[in-house]
């Protein structure tokens, strides 16, 4: 139990009696950081959450975006870090399950999964490899069985996640606007629990996640069953079509305690439930265990009496167990009974709204001690460096991962995983582009600029597919918020994201905060993760590989920003320097320019510069296009006297590489000049090797097949031998 002193006092002052044992369990679960957001809630309000596309309904666990023609897209993001660090397979799988049910609870069919995975150094840490492999299997086995494609994601390795794992899962849903569940309930309605039986797994999971990971508490990890989840999806969607659902909530963190109190609170109703009616996995479960068990694959439905038999009939068809566990009252109380005995009777609002905190924040000392860049070594062997970067775990192709995920099922995946954002076709003829991005290396050096950078990178990826960003989701992952220095980094990131979201007018459709991400050797680096959704109105932009004679253009300015780059951290093992920051105006105009070039069919393909900088971005174009190029990096628009090393490896934002057909070159150059943005024609594609020169000095010469070998075999070579 994790109630704090001030909370115990608040309970005494408000309820004016001692709480029963069950009540204490319920309150402790609901008031955990994980469920109550008590440290962050006050501050999250700063994010812009309204916009012309955003649909808001009470009680939704996912964000809803209007995509026109009577259709909506829903989106949500969750993490399952603590469970995955203890039991990677089950932890990751149930992470997928939870976020899928959030999508389902709005009444939409889940159509895609994206995942962001982070581990310790897989090159020298067998435990990190074990976590990585099992997390990937957990996600694959769960998502594949559901028939929901895992379309995109990212994998990153950093020493700060040693003996730990960050498993973030975002899910996207799609449906008709008029079939959205409009959560409502009236006195006398029935409260029904459907799905898997309640068992002893996941007891106290949300409290487990709201503390630093000290001991391996396996009973707090839930057991996955994707088959039941699949049946629940079909049951719920059929029940939705038969109008059997007045209100719905998934059972996640805090189990029944949270689902009941939050539903009652958001709908302004009371709920009375009998614990004996809950179907359980084994006899002899204590009432308190039933109330806080986080057994998976369960949904809470409020239905009216006359629809109950229809609902039961649908559950029977799919073989899903369904128990009527209580009914709606008018008293706004959460009333838990066992037969005739009352175990808990508390105002729902009291349970659902934990007293919020004002955490202290102090600028961390480590930021003052960050090393200056001049201490970093310089590279002279550029060819070797590029090859080493291409096969480094953070940059090398992740096909070993995404080939284990069914990314085609649902037959919507137009742009497949492996490049920038992935694109799905929607039923109204439009296309949805989605990507998630994080960058702890940048965020560590500057939590504000780093967070904005993640946001920009996700936008860039979406823009590269020709999509207009329409909404974002954020997942803010930090260490212990009770440490004012960590709380400062959280606030910096949040403020940065808010500022950028407001400037670009991209509303936040939903999000999640995860604190207490502490490893045995200290807190993780600040790891905000940003997901961006974009819409393509007509035809999807399918990039065409460069051919002999096509030109390469770079848009955007390269700055003296090697801090947090893969070049510094992987090649030189140097943490320090200045990380990239986003110029809002450039960011916006570059994005709009790329979009209009795509719209006017003036580009063959677009790729953004991110990890590894320009050198890696251009290598990737050659690798995927199977063609060489001759590039003069002296022309790269940059601040004055930028060294070739920085031109190649700086990870400055707002930069795009364009492949231009010779016949469009003049037109494109005129167009870009008119927009007054930084750009340069860097050279042409041809032959079978990449040649990079700087002031007529040859810096790099590599054949494309060697690049391809390094890029495609990096991860597999690493994992082959356990």
């Amino acid at each position: 139990m994790s109630l704090q002193k001030h909370e115990t006092k608040y309970i005494k002052d408000t309820i004016k009696r001692e709480l029963t044992k069950t009540e204490l369990q319920i309150v402790a679960a609901e008031w955990s950081e994980h469920c109550s957001y008590k440290s962050s809630k006050k501050h999250l309000k700063m994010l812009p959450t309204t916009g012309k596309n955003i649909i808001f309904e009470k009680g939704y666990d996912s964000g809803v975006l209007d995509v026109g023609d009577g259709y909506v897209v829903t989106v949500h993001i969750e993490s399952h870090n603590h469970p995955s660090a203890v039991e990677p397979y089950g932890g990751a799988a149930t992470g997928v399950g939870g976020v899928i049910r959030d999508i389902l609870s709005a009444g939409t069919r889940p159509i895609a999964i994206l995942d962001g995975l982070r581990f310790g150094n897989v090159e020298n840490d067998a435990h990190a490899r074990w976590l990585f492999k099992n997390v990937v299997s957990g996600i694959a086995d769960y998502g594949n069985c559901l028939g929901i494609p895992t379309i995109s994601g990212e994998v990153e390795f950093d020493d700060c996640y040693k003996n730990y794992a960050l498993v973030d899962v975002a899910a996207i849903g799609f449906g008709k606007k008029d079939r959205l569940i409009k959560n409502h309930a009236s006195k006398g309605d029935l409260v029904v629990l459907i799905g898997g039986p309640t068992g002893r797994d996941g007891i106290g999971g949300s409290q487990f996640a709201s503390d630093s990971l000290k001991s391996e508490d396996r009973s707090a990890v839930q057991i996955p069953d994707p088959f039941i989840e699949k049946l629940i999806i079909e049951t719920i969607l059929e029940a939705r079509d038969e109008k059997c659902i007045n209100a719905m909530k998934d059972l996640g963190g805090g189990g029944l305690s949270c689902a009941i109190s939050e539903t009652a609170e958001s709908l302004g109703i009371g709920i009375e439930l009998d614990i004996d009616s809950v179907h359980t996995r084994e006899p002899g479960l204590l009432p308190d265990e039933i109330m806080i068990s986080e057994s998976q694959e369960r949904m809470l439905i409020i239905t009216c009496k006359k629809k109950l038999s229809k609902l039961k009939q649908i559950c029977d068809k799919f073989g899903v167990t369904c128990s009527t566990i209580g009914q709606v009252k008018g008293d706004k109380m959460m009333h838990v009974k066992k037969g005739k005995n009352t175990l808990a009777l508390l105002p729902a609002e009291f349970v659902a709204r934990a007293p919020l905190l004002d955490r202290k924040k102090i600028k961390p000392k480590y930021l003052k001690q960050i090393k200056k860049e001049n201490k970093a070594k310089k590279t002279l062997y550029y060819t070797k460096t590029i090859l080493k970067l291409l096969s480094s775990p953070n940059i090398t192709s992740k096909h070993w991962v995404f080939r284990q995920y069914d990314h085609e099922v649902g037959i919507r995946t137009v742009v497949k995983p492996g490049f920038d954002a992935s694109v799905l076709r929607l039923d109204n003829g439009k296309f949805l582009s989605a990507k998630i991005d994080g960058n702890p290396k940048h965020c560590y050096l500057d939590p504000r600029q780093g967070a904005i950078g993640c946001f920009e990178e996700a936008c860039r990826n979406v823009v590269c597919t020709g999509a207009n960003p329409i909404g974002m989701v954020d997942h803010l992952q930090f260490g212990n918020p009770e440490d004012p220095e960590i709380f400062w980094t959280f606030m910096e990131s949040l403020e940065g994201l808010t500022e950028y979201a407001k400037f670009l007018r991209i509303p936040c459709a939903g999000g999640k905060v995860s604190f207490y991400n502490e490893t045995p050797s200290g807190p993780i680096k600040p790891t905000p993760l940003i997901g961006v959704l974009g819409i393509i109105d007509k035809t999807p932009f399918l990039s065409v590989s460069p051919i002999n004679g096509d030109s390469l253009i770079i848009i955007g300015k390269t700055n003296d920003e090697l801090g947090g780059s893969e070049y510094f951290e992987y090649i030189h093992k140097f943490i320090g320097g200045v990380c990239p920051s986003v110029d809002f105006k450039d960011s916006k105009i570059n994005m709009l320019t790329v979009l209009s070039l795509i719209k006017n069919k003036l580009v063959k393909s677009v790729h953004d510069c991110s990890k590894g900088g320009f050198a890696i971005a251009v290598s990737e174009l050659s690798i995927f296009g199977n063609i060489g190029c001759n590039i003069d990096i002296n022309k790269i628009p940059s601040v004055k006297n930028l060294s070739p090393e920085k031109k190649l490896f700086s990870e400055s934002h707002s930069r795009y590489l364009l492949v231009i057909d010779q016949k469009n070159l003049v037109h494109v150059k005129q167009f870009l000049s008119k927009k007054k943005i930084s750009f340069a024609v860097l050279g042409k594609f041809s032959g079978d090797q990449i040649n990079i020169t700087y002031k007529s000095k040859k810096l790099v010469k590599i054949t494309v097949d060697i690049l391809q070998k390094r890029y495609f075999n990096g991860l597999e070579d690493l994992l082959k031998h356990g």
Binding site: C145, F227, G319, Y405
Partner: protein
């Protein structure tokens, strides 16, 4: 409509409706608990190839005069015990067997193929891929038998770019069975390159009569240009073959 079937007082009416439906319904798509490519298959049959398709829940019977049956992919019963083995014991499989004996075209894709094998409608077994992982990737198939109801519009040795997505897709047959399969021209598709350790790269096969075809790759994921980055024509011909066979004019 199903409610009408269940009402005993309306037997006359039911018979009448059954007759109309059986005249309209051409292709049955069987849905098991855990099927997850049923909607994709239905979309391609109806929206793309304008066939009359209807879902059949595994507990229901199939009309005796249906024109073709498709067992779509997915994870029937969560792949418990072994992929396809529980679904192979579903009530509807008895009807599938009767239709198979009558020579009705039956296609099993991925999990549907596994179910056909488990119900002995097709010989051999499907084992875990030799990578021991689920594999989702684009492959090239080679047509080895263009006499089946699902390949008669394809050329012999024609290449089909098509994705696979399975964990247990490695076909295995012993030497005797391989001999028979070849003699009877039962190997319908092979992979062009090594994929998962399937014996002789087998990706799809048919029964001795040729009307029951099972394949691990997903033709419904490759028949539309918008989701097939390479070439959607060859996969389309699998559906065109069916249309040609059952005589539906577009």
């Amino acid at each position: 409509m199903l409610a009408v079937f269940q009402n005993k007082n309306m037997v006359m009416c039911t018979n009448f409706i059954c007759e109309i439906i059986s005249r309209i319904v051409k292709v049955g798509v069987i849905v098991f608990p855990g099927s997850n490519c049923d909607r994709d298959m239905f979309h391609v049959l109806t929206d793309v190839f304008h066939l009359n398709a209807q879902y059949f829940w595994h507990e229901k019977g199939l009309p005796h005069d249906i024109d073709a049956v498709v067992l779509p992919g997915g994870f029937s019963y969560g792949d418990r015990l072994r992929a396809g083995v529980i679904a192979a014991n579903s009530p509807i499989i008895d009807d599938v067997k009767k239709l198979a004996n009558k020579g009705i075209p039956i296609l099993g894709v991925c999990n549907g193929f596994q179910i056909l094998v488990e119900s002995n409608l097709l010989p051999g077994v499907l084992l875990k891929n030799d990578s021991l992982n689920f594999m989702c990737q684009w492959t090239n198939l080679i047509v080895k038998n263009n006499k089946t109801p699902f390949t008669n519009k394809l050329q012999l040795n024609q290449k089909i770019p098509i994705p696979i997505a399975n964990g247990e897709g490695r076909y295995y047959a012993d030497a005797q069975l391989m001999h028979d399969l070849k003699n009877n021209n039962q190997i319908v598709f092979t992979y062009q390159n090594y994929v998962n350790g399937s014996v002789q790269q087998i990706a799809g096969l048919c029964n001795e009569d040729g009307n029951v075809v099972g394949m691990m790759p997903h033709p419904e994921r490759a028949a539309e240009g918008v989701i097939n980055p390479i070439d959607n024509i060859p996969s389309s011909l699998i559906f065109e073959s069916l249309i040609h066979t059952i005589g539906v004019k577009n």
